[in-house]
């Protein structure tokens, strides 16, 4: 029986069988770490050390170690926070929204994308926590009765909504990711030869046997979690944007922020998935699972969301003029022509112009071009957040308080340090966890691998497919 579409390219190439999938994915987990992985981990650990040093300086000497001043009280910290949260969004988008839309191409990339979500949210969370100055009092953001009696947290503040949104998002994503990992942990457990590996994966796989009844419930759970995670993704970045939008700062006080931030988040998230996936598929020899078809699909999403972001920039400018509010108009003219013009135009170039190159099929299907453009998009999205935050703050209503912001080495250290944290976590994940969701790839293999795996002579003949063949959606 074959369900291969005549117009769609296969999602798994190379004539793989089910056993090949297990072998290809488990090989990385079971083999000794190779030299390239060790070197990558070494570099990541150096960056992680920079992170710890910068955090130590921040905690020991205080927030004065950062380049903040009275006018620009939020700068790189919140820029990096929003940037990292945005990057995290693609993972949930790929695993949840594309699951609801029954997009089969998500299966090879969802595992790594979800891992990316978890790690990006961890990196993001570092910034607001450190910005508190006294992170050991971070529990004050929780609705706990404090020492003065029952003075509670302010539920009217978007900053508190963020606390609830980010922690819910993180924990639900973690559960979703873990649920997806259970069957694959069981596969590794059943193949494991060493006693430590067998015990570790036996604990992680939670008694999973692959029983039909469990699979049935498992699919229900995945679908509902996807249904819950989808509005969650949208709410998280909407609430992040409300941190700005509910203020009265010109350039922030905009109703377009929620949809515009969500589109930007998906845009930067997909770029990060591409950056990582292009490297991972090469290093782990997963070219048959993460194919050009996958890269092209993601590039199409980047083109769409990049265009939405482009339209949002132009709309913001138009509304600033159309509103007739002179402060708003000044804020936008200052963004484009003021002292931070270079940040604004970097953002415009990276986010509006570069993704439009993906209209050309040859560029969309070129790995080198995709890799370069995905880096550009990541840089562009960082500048977007920087432009929104710093250019709006550095010149507000009171000209006597106008200043420039420049980051200190500690600002830079924490930022590149979180990249080290992210890469360290990702490398450990790639070594000890299955990078590709084996169970899900196996479930689409028959319908989109381009090779017949059937052993049933009746079923392979045309017109005599067995009764249940239509159940493969």
């Amino acid at each position: 029986m074959q369900h291969v579409s005549p117009i769609r390219e296969p999602l798994v190439t190379g004539g793989k069988t089910y056993a090949d999938i297990t072998e290809d994915v488990c090989r990385q987990v079971e083999a000794k770490p190779n030299m390239r992985w060790m070197m990558a981990l070494g570099v990541s650990l150096i960056f992680l050390a920079i992170f710890f040093y910068s955090v130590y300086r921040t905690l020991w000497f205080g927030i004065g170690e950062w380049g903040l001043n009275k006018t620009v009280g939020w700068a790189w910290d919140i820029t990096n926070f929003v940037w990292w949260v945005g990057i995290g969004h693609a993972g949930t988008l790929i695993s949840a929204i594309l699951l609801l839309f029954r997009q089969k191409w998500r299966t090879s990339i969802n595992r790594a994308a979800e891992a990316m979500t978890i790690f990006a949210v961890i990196c993001a969370a570092m910034f607001p926590v450190l910005h508190m100055g006294r992170p050991w009092l971070a529990y004050w953001v929780l609705p706990l009765p404090n020492t003065f009696g029952s003075l509670w947290v302010n539920f009217n503040s978007p900053l508190l909504w963020d606390v609830f949104a980010i922690s819910t998002y993180f924990s639900v994503s973690l559960v979703f990711w873990y649920i997806g990992l259970i069957p694959d942990f069981a596969t590794i457990r059943d193949r494991a030869t060493g006693p430590i590996a067998r015990r570790a994966y036996a604990l992680l796989s939670m008694n999973w046997t692959g029983s039909a009844k469990h699979w049935s419930r498992y699919e229900t759970v995945s679908l509902i979690l996807a249904g819950l995670a989808t509005p969650l993704v949208l709410s998280v970045h909407t609430i992040v944007s409300m941190d700005f939008a509910t203020s009265v700062i010109p350039g922030w006080h905009t109703t377009i922020f929620p949809p515009y931030f969500v589109a930007g988040a998906i845009f930067s998230g997909f770029a990060m998935v591409l950056t990582l996936m292009i490297v991972t598929r090469k290093v782990f020899k997963l070219e048959d699972y993460i194919t050009l078809e996958h890269v092209e699909s993601m590039n199409k999403v980047i083109t769409l969301t990049g265009s939405i972001v482009g339209v949002a920039y132009i709309t913001e400018f138009f509304i600033a003029w159309y509103s007739g509010v002179e402060y708003e108009q000044y804020a936008f003219i200052n963004r484009a022509t003021g002292p931070y013009w270079w940040a604004y135009w970097s953002m415009m170039t990276c986010n509006v112009i570069t993704p439009q190159l993906f209209w050309f099929r040859s560029i969309r299907r070129s790995l080198t071009a995709t890799f370069i453009i995905s880096i550009f998009v990541n840089i562009g999205m960082w500048f977007e957040r920087f432009v929104i935050i710093v250019t709006s703050l550095h010149r507000d209503y009171l000209p006597s308080s106008w200043v420039m912001f420049s980051p200190t080495s500690i600002d830079v250290g924490i930022y590149v340090g979180t990249m080290g944290l992210f890469m360290t976590l990702f490398l450990l994940f790639a070594k000890f966890f299955p990078v590709v969701n084996m169970a899900e790839v196996k479930s689409i293999l028959k319908s989109s691998s381009g090779v017949s795996h059937t052993h049933n002579p009746d079923a392979s003949m045309h017109g005599t497919a067995p009764k249940n063949s239509h159940k493969h959606d």
């Binding site: 089910y18 297990t22 609705p143 009696g149 029952s150 509670w152 302010n154 539920f155 009217n156 503040s157 978007p158 909504w161 609830f164 949104a165 819910t168 639900v172 559960v175 649920i179 069957p183 069981a186 596969t187 457990r189 059943d190 193949r191 036996a202 939670m206 008694n207 999973w208 046997t209 692959g210 029983s211 039909a212 009844k213 699979w215 049935s216 419930r217 229900t220 759970v221 509902i224 979690l225 819950l228 995670a229 509005p231 969650l232 709410s235 409300m242 084996m438 169970a439 196996k442 479930s443 052993h455 049933n456 079923a459 497919a465 067995p466 009764k467 249940n468 159940k471 493969h472 959606d473």
Partner: protein, 174 residues
């Protein structure tokens, strides 16, 4: 310590397996369970597995989350320590919506997942009762419990004639 014996039919193709499940059930044999490396679509119908009621669990857990969040915010800011913030009323329902939504999702997701773990008997353990380790790789395994007086040869024939590539016996000590 009780031990149970099972007959395991090993299959190599999901369509053959689905067909064999139907034939086995039609022959009046009760199938203990089927193990597969991935979810097979359509197996619920042939196995007679009822639709899971987990969505209902998720709904009611979500409802608990909504009520808890609304109660918490109304009680804290409306009654226990009323604060005037930006001239808003103490009980400003619109600004309570984000937290209410997040807690609804949190309760629904965790309630459903915890229920799923409990009813499926999924818990961290070192001894896993796997019938055949190949069922997490590339084979499909149909397990039939062997009771007193079951004709092994007849079961063997039934499984083989429906496409099983191997038929094994397995004793599980519980």
């Amino acid at each position: 310590m009780t031990s149970k014996k099972y007959i395991l039919g090993v299959f190599e193709d999901e369509d053959v397996l689905l067909n064999a499940i139907e034939k086995t059930r039609a022959a009046g044999t009760k199938i203990y369970d089927v193990f597969s490396p991935y979810p097979i679509h359509g197996i619920d119908d042939v196995m007679g597995i009822e639709r899971s009621r987990l969505p209902i669990v998720a709904f009611f857990c979500g409802l608990c989350g909504t009520s808890f969040a609304l109660w918490m915010q109304i009680y804290m800011l409306g009654f226990d320590w009323p604060m005037i913030i930006g001239g808003k009323p103490h009980i400003a329902i619109p600004s309570f919506i984000p937290v209410t939504f997040e807690l609804t999702v949190l309760f629904a997701a965790f309630g459903m997942v915890i229920t799923f773990f409990i009813i499926s008997g999924l818990r961290p353990t070192l001894k896993v009762p796997v019938m055949d380790v190949r069922s997490t790789d590339d084979k499909y395994v149909m397990a039939i419990e062997l009771k007193e007086g079951t004709d092994i040869n007849k079961l063997n024939d039934l499984l083989r004639s429906n496409g099983a590539i191997e038929v094994n016996e397995k004793e599980v000590v519980k």
